[in-house]
């Protein structure tokens, strides 16, 4: 019998249907993979299993009997431990305290038994092969170390079900191997594991079974032994790559953006490249390789320690988004909700926000000009909305992304930087965004695209730049960019 199972679960957020009729069984001693593209509903599923969200319909079954998780505490009592992509530690507290917070061992008088905590932590760390100082504060730990603390936390709790949401995204090869050793041992002890990763080789190495989600709907459940990686990709994408990546070939023009030996100490080092008008250049690499940080510095969000950026032959003032915008740069940021949009503001005001000077009549804002600007771009990008005065927060992820694009395209930039342009949006809108980017490039815009999705990188880019640990390690023209060549550069196995 399954330790933990979902039966016909659905969940919506406002107008967005995140999950539809999902069933899933986690068996003891089995590692079960959850595959699917970004936005397929994997994170929502994890949050339901961990008690953060409650399903709208359907049931959670624990050892065969229905349960309701009122919150994360209930799920934890049921033996479910979750290791999130972004660890959730208390930065001010020590590692030991982080592991045992809320359930510290106590002496008879209710006093926290620090000796017992230290002893148990020592044992856990020895088992994991971790060499961290348990009394150290969590602030300042690398993501990989934080991840290990999270795993120690789960182990200390004797979890029956271990859910890992992209735990390897920020880990190096050694760290991944160490993690897998631990997880395999846990599995053999009878733990049920739910594993989510974008790296197919990891799924094939660790798991016995895989469930694939597409747009919130389960499309297949297979034994790993029965399928090939290609089969899995087909299940995830569900259509031909050509339809998703309608790339037209443009003619590269003069250099629009030049980055010269850009360095930010401790983040990225000596990054130089050029982007020409009419081409799409992808910046690929693993999470944490420094790609987002590079485009942030280009746009003036962060200050570089050395090097410079030229747009149209003119050097930019560092650390000034205003200067970057005046020179014709536009940045569609990674985090749409936090950086791209002001959720409380209406659609038209969000679109006007990057061009307040352009919707003025005299000293005052012209509501008519603001509205016209939004209307124009809403039509061009086929935005689905009720009224332009609605807060942007009510739109679906894909439509929110269109608002961000409209906000920047309305400024008529010469260089468009997009960071994870299709993260968390549905497949249909995704294809639209890809078509738009392609058209913009053909129309003479220089496009720099940061993406963690290999198919997107390979499908859209004229050239692929690969970063590894803060350095640019490879430049691959479209013809020689393959999944293997990009991945081996991104993991540091080959250097250009």
């Amino acid at each position: 019998m399954a330790v933990l199972a979902l039966s016909d679960v659905s969940k919506s957020f406002g107008a967005v249907r995140a999950l539809r009729g999902v069933s899933l069984k986690l068996e003891a001693g089995e590692a079960h993979a959850l595959a699917g593209e970004n936005g397929a509903g994997k994170s929502t599923l994890v949050k339901i299993l961990s008690g953060v969200h409650r399903p709208d319909t359907g049931q959670i079954l624990l050892n065969g009997s229905p349960v309701t998780f009122g919150g994360p505490a209930d799920a934890r009592h049921a033996g479910v431990a979750v290791i999130y992509q972004e660890p959730t530690l208390f930065p001010d507290l020590s590692i030991v305290e982080n592991i045992f917070m809320g359930r510290q061992p106590r002496t008879r008088f209710g006093r926290i038994d620090r000796a017992a905590m230290a002893e148990q932590t020592g044992r856990l760390f020895a088992g994991l092969g971790v060499e961290l100082d348990p009394e150290q504060a969590a602030r300042g730990l690398s993501i990989a170390d934080q991840q290990l603390v999270e795993i120690a936390k789960a182990l200390s709790r004797d979890a029956k079900v271990l859910i890992m949401d992209e735990p390897t995204a920020a880990l190096s090869g050694n760290e991944v191997a160490r993690l897998f050793g631990v997880v395999k041992a846990l599995r053999e002890q009878g733990c049920a594991v739910l594993f989510i990763s974008h790296r197919l080789d990891e799924i094939f190495e660790l798991c016995q079974r895989v469930t694939t989600l597409r747009d919130g709907t389960p499309v297949a459940e297979d034994l790993i032994a029965d399928i090939t990686p290609d089969d899995l990709v087909r299940r995830m994408v569900g259509r031909d790559l050509d339809a998703l990546y309608p790339k037209q070939d443009g003619v590269p023009g003069e250099v629009a953006l030049e980055v010269h030996r850009l360095t930010r100490e401790g983040v990225f080092t000596d990054v130089s490249f050029r982007v020409r008008r009419g081409e799409i250049v992808a910046l690929a690499g693993l999470v944490g390789a420094g790609r987002t940080e590079v485009v942030r510095a280009i746009f003036g969000i962060d200050r570089q320690d050395a090097g410079w950026v030229e747009v149209g032959g003119r050097r930019l003032r560092p650390a000034s988004p205003t200067a970057a915008m005046a020179a014709g740069l536009a940045l569609v940021p990674e985090d749409r909700r936090q950086q791209g949009l002001v959720m409380d503001l209406s659609i038209d005001r969000n679109i006007a926000l990057a061009g307040l000077a352009e919707v003025r009549r005299g000293p005052l804002i012209s509501r008519a000009a603001e509205h016209a600007r939004a209307q124009d771009w809403a039509v061009r990008l086929r935005l689905k909305f009720a009224r332009l005065s609605d807060p942007v927060g009510v739109l679906s992820g894909g439509n929110q992304q269109k608002v961000v694009l409209a906000k920047w395209l309305a400024r008529k930039p010469s260089v468009l930087i997009v960071d994870e342009p299709t993260r968390g949006i549905d497949v249909g809108t995704k294809a639209e965004v890809h078509r738009l980017l392609s058209e913009l490039a053909v129309g003479g815009m220089a496009v720099l695209m940061v993406s963690s999705e290999l198919p997107e990188v390979l499908g859209m880019a004229d050239r692929v730049l690969v970063m590894h640990e803060g350095r640019l390690v490879a430049e691959l023209p479209r013809a020689s960019a393959t999944e293997e060549s990009v991945m081996s550069a991104a993991t540091g196995r080959t250097a250009a």
Partner: protein
């Protein structure tokens, strides 16, 4: 939408209290009392104008009343030293702007929380006021100005002109849009090319200068420059701004709402005094109104969440 509803609520409350006071309180509904009560709100109204900008931008300034005190002390000291009042007034405004600039620099350059910074400068500026003027009261101020300040039309005209100016600035210009965006989501505002730090800095400077302007009105109105002028006004100003529907978390609020809240508090105060309710009970009413103004929408939200399906978006 919530803001609109809140403004209407304040307006209804204001009209209600006025009607009640006019019918039930002797001596409320006559011209001299009404002009007196309005006059009495001048300083709070002035400081509330700039405080609205600061709080909409998700910051706070608890040092305004101390800035007012420091400006009063400087005025008294320079007057004692024999300077002309026409020269002293711009100096006071500069002192106020400087106080605001110090707050602004600490908040924007060092990234310190404005709450902690302005609790510090709250003590610092008031302390400097005591150092400059001690506990003396400077009262021999020029009659031309003291009589001007007690003629209702002048201070109220000032409030009206600055109020309209501030309302236009906040609600109809790019700067106002930027202030709302900063308060609602500072990071997104910065990513949109808005100069977050620079704008915040100038908001604090304007707040300081406005406190100094309020100090001039205060000094002339009471014909007395003292270091302890306006002690405790900062809380009254913040209370009025919050009661006016501005969110303490920034990004929401309107100037008309704030001005109505200032008048509402003034009317309540005046009516209770006329009705012979102990002056001190006013504190209780102020506190209650303040808590209620934040509690009501929160409880409303709790209520809605309980009776409709969850609308959380991950």
């Amino acid at each position: 939408m919530l803001v609109r509803r809140w403004e209407s609520l304040i307006l209804v409350l204001l009209v209600g209290v006025c009607v009640w006071a006019a019918l039930g309180v002797d001596g409320f509904a006559n011209t001299s009392n009404v002009s007196f009560l309005l006059l009495d709100t001048t300083e709070i109204a002035l400081m509330a104008l700039t405080m609205t900008f600061v709080i909409v931008a998700a910051e706070i300034d608890l040092s305004v009343a101390s800035t007012l005190g420091l400006s009063c002390a400087v005025l008294g000291w320079l007057w004692n030293a024999g300077l002309g009042i026409e020269l002293i007034m711009p100096i006071c405004l500069l002192v106020g702007a400087l106080c605001g600039a110090i707050n602004g620099l600490l908040v924007t350059r060092l990234g310190l929380p404005s709450l902690a910074v302005t609790i510090g400068t709250f003590a610092l500026y008031r302390g400097l006021a005591y150092v400059i003027l001690g506990d003396q009261a400077v009262a021999d101020l020029p009659a031309a100005y003291t009589s001007l300040a007690t003629r209702p039309l002048v201070p109220l005209g000032l409030v009206a002109v600055l109020g309209v100016g501030a309302a236009v600035l906040l609600h109809a210009t790019g700067l106002g849009r930027a202030v709302f965006a900063i308060g609602a989501n500072q990071e997104a505002a910065f990513f949109s090319g808005i100069r977050v730090k620079r704008i915040k800095f100038w908001l604090f400077v304007a707040g300081g200068a406005m406190a100094a302007l309020a100090s001039l009105v205060f000094t002339f109105r009471y014909a007395s420059a003292r270091a302890d002028n306006g002690v405790g006004l900062e809380l009254a100003v913040v209370a009025a701004v919050l009661l006016g529907g501005v969110s303490i978390f920034g990004g929401r609020g309107s100037l008309p709402g704030v001005l109505m809240a200032v008048v509402l508090l003034g009317v309540v105060r005046n009516a209770l005094i006329l009705a012979d309710v102990a002056n001190e009970v006013l504190n209780f009413v102020t506190g209650l109104l303040l808590v209620a103004s934040v509690l009501a929408p929160n409880l409303g939200a709790l209520w809605r969440r309980r009776f409709t399906s969850q609308q959380e978006v991950s």
